[in-house]
């Protein structure tokens, strides 16, 4: 299956170095749109509460963590402003990230039927799964705005930087999601490792706490977690607190490296998928 290709297309054994074919991805942009549209539609058709889930999940975790860490753990004292808002602002991109990675990771195996019957750039499937998560993100973002109004926290001009950190979250989710998706096709065990990895990752990311609790000398190492700077920057742009520039810079580089690695591994093995899936 190919979109109009008037010139001759040669099919041969894949070379040892595969590149992401951007021109081809562009030609398939409508299919990407249809995959996203399908994922969104199907998700809300099959659930009773539909879009409510997008809100319930981060709200409930925020509630639990607020009680657990904020009240009993005494963490609320280390945070400026309401602890619940602090956690929810972190939970919002984190929920998007972890859901996007999980659905991207399982998306290829879930589409094995398509992969064995029709050609299209395989990377569209995990990318569509990630993009579909943005709808949930948008809904819970509205909840964030309501919460800010409730606590009387007004956005500052820093909020203009928010799209940048959302983009950062998407880049992280794409890197990890695409890598896990490709790994799961060959090694199904990765499926069982993933929830565990995501759990640890959450605690290695400043969602429930602030960067301040990390000793200064460890902060550069800590920032190698691509999500660390992304979440910290996200929170700073919403709450107007100072941006931890150093951490953000290191994390951004780490995020780009993770993205490049994921995509690189994916295109390297994607032509094998139909044979092993």
């Amino acid at each position: 299956m190919a979109y109009p290709l008037r010139r001759t297309l040669r099919l041969e054994a894949p070379g040892s170095w595969q590149m992401l074919n951007l021109a081809e991805l562009w030609a398939y942009r409508e299919l990407l749109f249809f995959f996203v549209w399908r994922d969104v539609k199907v998700r809300y058709k099959q659930t009773v509460l539909g879009a409510a889930w997008a809100v319930i999940q981060p709200l409930m975790t925020t509630f639990v963590f607020t009680i657990l860490f904020g009240r009993f753990g005494g963490m609320s004292k280390q945070v400026e402003g309401p602890y619940a808002l602090h956690v929810f602002v972190g939970m919002l991109p984190w929920t998007f990230f972890s859901n996007a990675v999980a659905s991207a990771a399982n998306s290829l195996v879930g589409s094995s039927h398509l992969i064995s019957k029709v050609y299209f750039p395989r990377i569209l499937i995990p990318i569509a799964a990630i993009a579909a998560g943005l709808v949930d993100f948008a809904i819970s973002f509205v909840v964030l705005l309501l919460m800010m109004a409730w606590y009387g926290v007004a956005p500052t001009p820093a909020i203009l930087a928010l799209p940048l950190y959302l983009l950062g979250t998407i880049v992280c989710a794409a890197g990890a999601g695409v890598l896990f998706a490709a790994l799961i096709v060959t090694y199904r065990d990765v499926r069982y490792v993933m929830p565990f990895v995501m759990q640890l990752w959450l605690f290695a990311t400043p969602v429930l706490y602030t960067l301040d609790i990390i000793p200064a000398k460890w902060r550069a190492l800590y920032a190698l977690n691509p999500m660390a700077g992304t979440i910290a920057g996200f929170r700073a742009s919403v709450l107007g607190s100072p941006f931890p520039t150093g951490v953000i810079l290191i994390s951004s580089v780490a995020a780009l490296v993770m993205f490049a690695t994921g995509v690189r591994y994916f295109v390297q093995v994607e032509r094998r998928f139909a044979d092993v899936i």
Binding site: L5, R10, L11, F34, K117, V118, D275
Partner: protein
């Protein structure tokens, strides 16, 4: 500037198949293998590691398809037809050789790829159309025609999970029928659906042919190959064995399965042609002596072999090997030493009465050898003839047993209540 739509040159596709595990002899070995197992398994999954077996699903396939040709590809199961289509559809890359495709390609390995049961007919038309390579604007333009062709105007906003299977197939086919590719690669989709549906598929294929589009079409249905195609190829064991007019090729294919096979080229094309003595003709007959290509389990089959040429020695044997669709050996038989029958130089017609056949439903192939037992073969005719088991119900239960999931043969069995 050539007018070839498809050029295939020395195409080969190799697959790796699962490794046989060897039983552990001692507890020590079991523990070692239990510890080493995950690593070995990892290497296997990663496509490395020793002991893996490979086979060529396609090997040295070369042919060209001119613009406007309608090519039918026939061949027994496991011949490599599906692999060829998957390579041409870019689903799997070739291992060697190349394919050049010139023109907009659509491939249709099934109808309704990507249909989602929760989505409505309308939504599925858009989704499926996009998956098949149509642009959104194109689908919008053709939407009414697609729905009208499927005769589903009233149900187009109903989720397809509520459709009957007939409605589902009609809608799926209707989307596919509105593709306008320059090259269409199409699998046996015509075999689904009822007669009315099949006729419409055939009609649409005829339109494509008349519009001068290039079609590559795989089928078991020899009648439609004869009706539609301008040329046909016979594929067997990953090779193209014959290329010619649909009439000639389908006749040759039928002969492989339905009557005796005559080896007209002598021993020259055999893999082991060490002597002038060779098997010339093979026939399969039923108990009534009729030449047949289809049998039922429980029937007795007579294999007739005719040989010619001077036999180098006396007291020789004729042997068969029986293979299943996956090219795995199922059984072996020999005049001697299995049965103490020795043929002498003046014998030229050998009969093996085989059965009652315990085989499950599916296709099988027979290879033959003549030689003095344990010595070099005089002749080996690989996959000389095929046959099918159409019905396997040895215990009269009304349920057939097919070889795709249930093994190749059925063993006599009794089921009792133990004490």
């Amino acid at each position: 500037m050539s007018s070839d739509a498809i050029v295939i040159e020395k195409l080969g596709k190799q697959y790796t198949i699962g490794t046989a595990t060897i039983g552990d002899a001692t507890l020590g070995e079991s523990i070692t293998s239990w510890v080493a197992g995950p690593w070995r398994r990892f290497r296997q999954l990663a496509g490395r590691g020793e002991g893996r077996t490979t086979f060529w699903a396609l090997k040295d396939v070369s042919f060209r398809v001119g613009v406007g040709e309608v090519i039918g590809i026939v061949g027994p199961n496991g011949a490599g037809k599906s692999t060829l289509l998957k390579v041409l559809s870019r689903i799997t890359p070739p291992t060697e050789g190349y394919v050049d495709l010139t023109g907009r390609v659509s491939s249709l390995l099934e109808v309704g790829t990507g249909f989602h049961p929760e989505l409505t007919g309308r939504e599925n038309v858009f989704l499926n159309g996009a998956i098949l390579g149509m642009f959104r604007a194109e689908i919008v333009r053709k939407f009414d025609a697609i729905v009208a062709f499927a005769e589903l105007e009233r149900f187009i906003d109903t989720p397809v999970k509520h459709y009957s299977s007939g409605m589902y197939v009609r809608l799926a086919f209707s989307v596919a029928a509105h593709l306008e590719p320059e090259i269409l690669i199409i699998d046996e989709v015509l075999s689904v659906g009822d007669l009315h549906f099949r006729n419409r598929c055939l009609g649409r294929m005829q339109d494509l042919r008349d519009e001068g589009r290039t079609v590559l079409f795989v089928s078991h249905d020899l009648t439609s190959v004869r009706q539609l195609c301008t040329r046909a190829l016979l594929l067997n064991s990953g090779h193209i064995v014959a290329d010619g007019t649909p009439g000639d090729i389908t006749r040759q294919y039928e002969r492989m399965y339905q009557e005796g096979v005559e080896n007209t080229t002598g021993a020259a094309d055999r893999r082991h042609p060490p002597s002038d003595y060779h098997i010339r003709r093979v026939e399969l007959r039923n108990a009534a002596g009729e030449v047949r290509g289809q049998f039922d389990a429980g029937e007795v089959m007579e294999i007739h072999l005719w040989a010619s040429g001077p036999a180098p020695e006396n007291s020789f044997t004729a042997e068969f090997k029986l293979f299943n669709e996956d090219d795995q050996i199922v059984s072996f038989g020999s005049a001697n030493p299995v049965r103490s029958t020795y043929y002498r130089a003046e014998h030229q017609h050998f009969v093996c009465r085989l059965g009652p056949l315990p085989l499950t439903e599916g296709r099988y192939a027979l290879s033959f050898t003549v030689r003095v037992w344990n010595k070099e073969r005089w002749d080996y005719w690989d996959r000389a003839i095929g046959f099918s088991i159409d019905r396997c119900d040895l215990f009269n239960t009304g349920h057939g047993v097919a070889n795709d999931h249930n093994g190749d043969f059925v063993i006599q069995q009794e089921w009792l209540v133990g004490d």
